[in-house]
C-alpha cells in the first residue's frame, strides 16, 4: 500500500498496518509522539488501534521548543 507520511510518499508490501507497526518499521519510538490519521488524532496508547489504509494521510507530530 501507498501512504503519505508527513507529506512524503511511502510504499509498503503490507495491506494492513497500524501506527504501532509503522513506527516499528521506521525504527522509531512512540515516546512523545502523536499521530493524526486521515484527520483523527491518536495518542501513543492508542497506536495499536490506529489503522492505516491505502492512501492514508498520516502526520507524526511531537513537542518541540517554542514560544
Amino acid at each position: 500500500m501507498r501512504i503519505y507520511l508527513n507529506e512524503k510518499e511511502y510504499v509498503f508490501d503490507e495491506t494492513n498496518l497500524t501506527i504501532n507497526d509503522l513506527l516499528k518499521k521506521l525504527n522509531m519510538s512512540c515516546m512523545g509522539v502523536v499521530a493524526e490519521v486521515d484527520g483523527d488524532v491518536f495518542n501513543s496508547k492508542n497506536f495499536s488501534n490506529a489503522t492505516i489504509k491505502d492512501g492514508s494521510k498520516i502526520e507524526l507530530i511531537r513537542i518541540v521548543g517554542g514560544g
Binding site: 507520511l5 522509531m28 519510538s29 502523536v34 507530530i61 513537542i63 517554542g66 514560544g67
Partner: protein
C-alpha cells in the same frame, strides 16, 4: 503574604512565562529554567523528523514544577488552531493552550477574528485558553466574554526585541480586564519586562530575548529580577510625574 499569580485557579509564584524555542542547547534551556525559577513554559508542536527522533527539550522540563503550555504556532486560521490544540492534548500536554493564529509571516500579527473564533470553540471543548492577541481592549473583553482564562496582548512583533510599543492600549486592557494580563511578544530587555509589571501587567512571556542572548541562564535570571522589581514598584504605587522640579531636600533653612 505571598503575591501569587493566579490563572484559571492555579497559583504560581513566578510571573515569568518562558518560551523554550531557539535555545542553543537543551542544557542551556535547563539552566535558564533553574536560574529564573519559571513555572510556566511554552512549547510548540511540529512534524517529526524521521531521521532524528531524540526527545529534545522535554527532558529539560520538570512537569512537577513547570506547567507545560503548548502553543498553536503555525496556525493560520481558527480551524488549524483547534486542530493543534487537540494534538497538544493528545500529546499529554493537558488542557492548557496558548492559542495563537498568525496568518502572515512578516510581522506574525494575530488575526483577531480567527483568534476569537478559535477561542470560542476551544473553551467549549474544555480547554483553558490563553490567547495571543493584538493589544486591543475591545478584543480583550470579547475574549474574556468567550471564556478565556487570560489575555496575552503583544508588546511588539514576535521575536523583534523592540519592547512595548503598544503601551497605551495595554494600560487600557489592564484597567478593564477581569482576567490576568500577560504581556507577550517583543520584549527585548529586562527593563521592558519591568515596565510591563510597573503598569500593572500580571505576568510577561519571554523567549527570544533569553534564548538568543549571550548567556541565556544569566538573562533568564535578569528577566526574573526585572519582573520582581517592576511588580514591587506596581504594588508600592509609583509617584506622580511632574514637568517641573520638586526639591527632595528641605527648601527652608538653606545656608547661602
Amino acid at each position: 503574604m505571598d503575591d501569587l499569580l493566579i490563572i484559571a485557579g492555579r497559583t504560581f509564584k513566578s510571573r515569568l512565562l518562558m518560551g523554550t524555542g531557539k535555545f542553543p542547547s537543551v542544557q542551556s534551556l535547563r539552566d535558564s529554567i533553574t536560574a529564573s525559577k519559571v513555572e510556566i513554559v511554552t512549547v510548540a508542536l511540529r512534524r517529526i523528523d524521521i531521521n532524528n527522533t531524540d526527545d529534545g527539550i522535554i527532558s529539560a522540563i520538570d512537569r512537577n514544577v513547570q506547567l507545560l503550555l503548548p502553543n498553536t504556532s503555525g496556525a493560520r486560521d481558527a480551524e488549524e488552531a483547534v486542530r493543534l490544540a487537540k494534538i497538544a492534548r493528545a500529546a499529554g500536554c493537558g488542557n492548557w493552550i496558548k492559542m495563537e493564529v498568525t496568518p502572515e509571516p512578516r510581522y506574525m500579527l494575530p488575526d483577531p477574528v480567527e483568534t476569537l473564533k478559535a477561542a470560542e470553540i476551544l473553551v467549549i471543548q474544555g480547554f483553558i485558553v490563553l490567547p495571543y492577541m493584538n493589544a486591543d481592549p475591545i478584543l480583550a473583553k470579547r475574549l474574556e466574554d468567550a471564556g478565556c482564562s487570560a489575555v496575552m496582548p503583544l508588546g511588539s512583533p514576535i521575536g523583534s526585541n523592540r519592547g512595548i510599543k503598544t503601551i497605551d492600549s495595554i494600560k487600557i486592557i489592564i484597567e478593564q480586564s477581569n482576567l490576568p494580563v500577560v504581556v507577550d511578544a517583543g520584549l527585548g530587555a529586562p527593563s521592558d519586562a519591568s515596565l510591563a509589571m510597573e503598569i500593572g501587567a500580571d505576568a510577561v512571556l519571554i523567549n527570544t530575548a533569553i534564548a538568543t542572548s549571550g548567556n541565556p541562564a544569566k538573562m533568564a535570571q535578569a528577566f526574573a529580577d526585572g519582573i520582581r522589581a517592576g511588580r514591587l514598584a506596581y504594588l508600592a504605587g509609583l509617584p506622580e510625574k511632574t514637568f517641573t522640579a520638586n526639591a527632595s531636600s528641605p527648601v527652608t533653612g538653606i545656608s547661602h
